[in-house]
Amino acid sequence: MTELDDKSVLSIAEGYRNDPQQLIAALLDIQEASGRSYVDRRWAALAARAMGVPAARVHEILTFYGMFSTVPRGRHVVEVCESAPCLFTGAARLLAWLSELLGVGEGGTTGDGLFTLESAGCCGRCAAAPVVKVGDEAYSVSSLSEAAELLRSFREGDPGAREVLRCSG
């Protein structure tokens, strides 16, 4: 749960050669590197200055695009897909399981700062519905025990355990 230091923010921007066209990608990287799935407005301002982008535009980008959060969330954002193919094949039940296992409702963050539970638009894995996205990967989960195993694998840092649930193609 380390806070990003200025140097890390600047090196992310530099990784994109401070190209203003890559502002969105840089902000996504900052969000990932934050450890709390958010972009602090101070980091955004720092990156913007380095990339030669006005502060107003950074504010616009952070508020326009749905994937950004300017307040800290959990290390892992758990997003249940709620578009039709998932919703009508058990997404509501999946959300309820995850909510029960995490002890938080939609939008809530667990006390240990590990997980935030959210719902999301389509993540393009409809053939594996219902799916839940954690970080960059989507997982097909169809039972309470699978949901528990998925969370355990993130909690205990055991990526192998969730491989069987991962949507691979």
Binding site: Q21, Q22, L28, E60, F68, E82, A84, C122, C126
Partner: protein
């Protein structure tokens, strides 16, 4: 007819990210051929192929290419729309993960035609894992001399960069996508001017969907005529269809246009394989959230752009979301509406305020006694205003599903309407 493989050829190869693998399977025959052709002749092949844009709008790719070829000004930009945000659509992801080099080769041929040196693939932010695979494929292509300077030992220079979105459905609209590619908020632009003339960074620009670009190499190798003949007389080639929902065999299927009916797509054992659990089909949602709802008795239309259009339907993105008899129609439409509430960019009032209002009415109408007096009239008029007065296609088409469902299942709308007002529905459909 099934079994024709144009886009899925090589899609089950064990090494989809290997440039050598693609070359060994005959890849880059199209670019080699194109290098000896005049740009106008390449465009002629695309025109003859009658390739209709595969992103959803079905605009003829050949015409788009011809227009851009006739426009002076440089540089011309090549942009691939990989902002696949349409629920129930996952075929562009399939191409990017399984046959990325066909997309890369297609964009390179576009670069050759328009004298461009840089192409951009705009990939939605939700596909970060796909972006990583594409990045690897681009790197391997560079190492194999398929991107960069002097491609295939010729004088052709072309390279491709990936640009990431960050969660905005509206960026699938091409002008919004270009704004986002420039690092701005992805709001749509006023047109005209057309993007061919004033596109990325104000320069002439070609924007095509992933599947459209992936069709370019086969068009060049087969020839436009043969590509046309593999499909429908008015739209050549095959379509990647995404089956999801309550089918036995959800997934991406390659279907020669016009070769099967919608019903075949759902029930053929080699395709959807019928409805799960032996239940009955209630409806199909076609082409994306902004596409029509098709009841079970209207599925005998051949799956082609022309046939579906004549039937008042549309191929759209290729999404075919199948729902069985257990689904409450108004619950489904509320989910569609909720999607548009989430994704409206807020720029114009009909879309920003119309979608939440429609959602509220749908929720009311889904429970006994819920429909307020005049609810159906209000819903109808909301839909009219959104369709007629929204700024971009997102708002204009947000109630297509609702209107088509209303026609097909009027009783479900009327069930909980305020009783004296029930006649409104039949009037509205008159």
């Amino acid at each position: 007819m099934l079994g024709v493989r144009i886009l899925t050829e090589g899609a089950d190869a064990p090494d989809p990210l290997s440039a050598e693998g693609y070359l060994a399977r005959g890849g880059y025959a199209a670019l080699r051929k194109a290098l000896d052709m005049a740009p106008a002749d390449i465009v002629s092949e695309v025109k003859e192929a009658k390739l209709l844009g595969r992103g959803g709008a079905a605009y003829p790719a050949g015409s788009k290419w011809e227009q851009l070829l006739g426009i002076s000004g440089a540089p011309k930009h090549i942009v691939c729309n990989a902002d696949e945000g349409e629920p129930g659509t996952f075929k562009d992801r399939f191409i990017m993960e399984r046959t990325p080099y066909r997309l890369i080769e297609g964009m390179t041929i576009a670069g050759l035609v328009f004298g461009s040196v840089t192409g951009y693939i705009y990939v939605r932010g939700e596909y970060r894992s796909v972006q990583r695979k594409l990045l690897a494929a681009l790197g391997n292509a560079r190492a194999a001399g398929l991107l960069g300077r002097g491609i295939l030992g010729s004088g052709l220079d072309f390279d491709i960069a990936i640009v990431s979105g960050a969660g905005a459905y509206v960026c699938g609209e091409n002008s919004a996508l270009l704004n986002s590619t420039q690092g701005l908020a992805g709001r749509p632009r006023i047109k005209p001017p057309h993007l061919a003339e004033v596109g990325l960074f104000g320069k002439p620009t070609l924007v095509n969907n992933v599947e459209s670009f992936a069709n370019i190499p086969p068009i060049i190798t087969m020839g436009g005529r043969a590509f046309l003949e593999a499909g429908h007389p008015e739209s050549g080639g095959t379509k990647l269809v995404c089956l999801s929902g309550h089918v036995e065999r959800p997934g991406v299927y390659e279907i020669p246009l016009g070769s099967v009916t919608l019903r075949d797509a759902v029930f053929d054992p080699a395709l959807g394989g019928g409805i799960r659990g032996g239940r009955r089909l209630k409806f199909v949602h076609l082409g994306g959230q902004s596409g029509p709802i098709v009841p079970a008795d209207r599925l005998d239309t051949p799956y082609s752009y022309a046939d579906l259009r004549k039937a008042g339907l549309a191929v759209g993105s290729g999404a075919v979301v199948v729902m069985d008899e257990t689904v409450q129609l108004l619950d489904y439409l509320a989910a569609v509406s909720r999607f548009f509430v989430r994704e409206s960019c807020g720029k114009c009032t009909p879309c920003r305020d119309g979608n939440p209002a429609a959602l509220g009415i749908l929720r009311d109408l889904s429970r006994p006694g819920g429909g307020a007096p005049g609810a159906l009239e209000t819903l109808r008029s909301l839909s009219d205003v959104m369709t007629g007065a929204s700024f971009c296609g997102l708002g204009r088409t947000a109630t297509v599903a609702l209107r088509s469902a209303w026609k097909a299942f009027p009783e479900e709308f009327e069930r909980n309407a305020d009783p004296p007002r029930r006649a409104a529905s039949s009037r509205a459909n008159a």
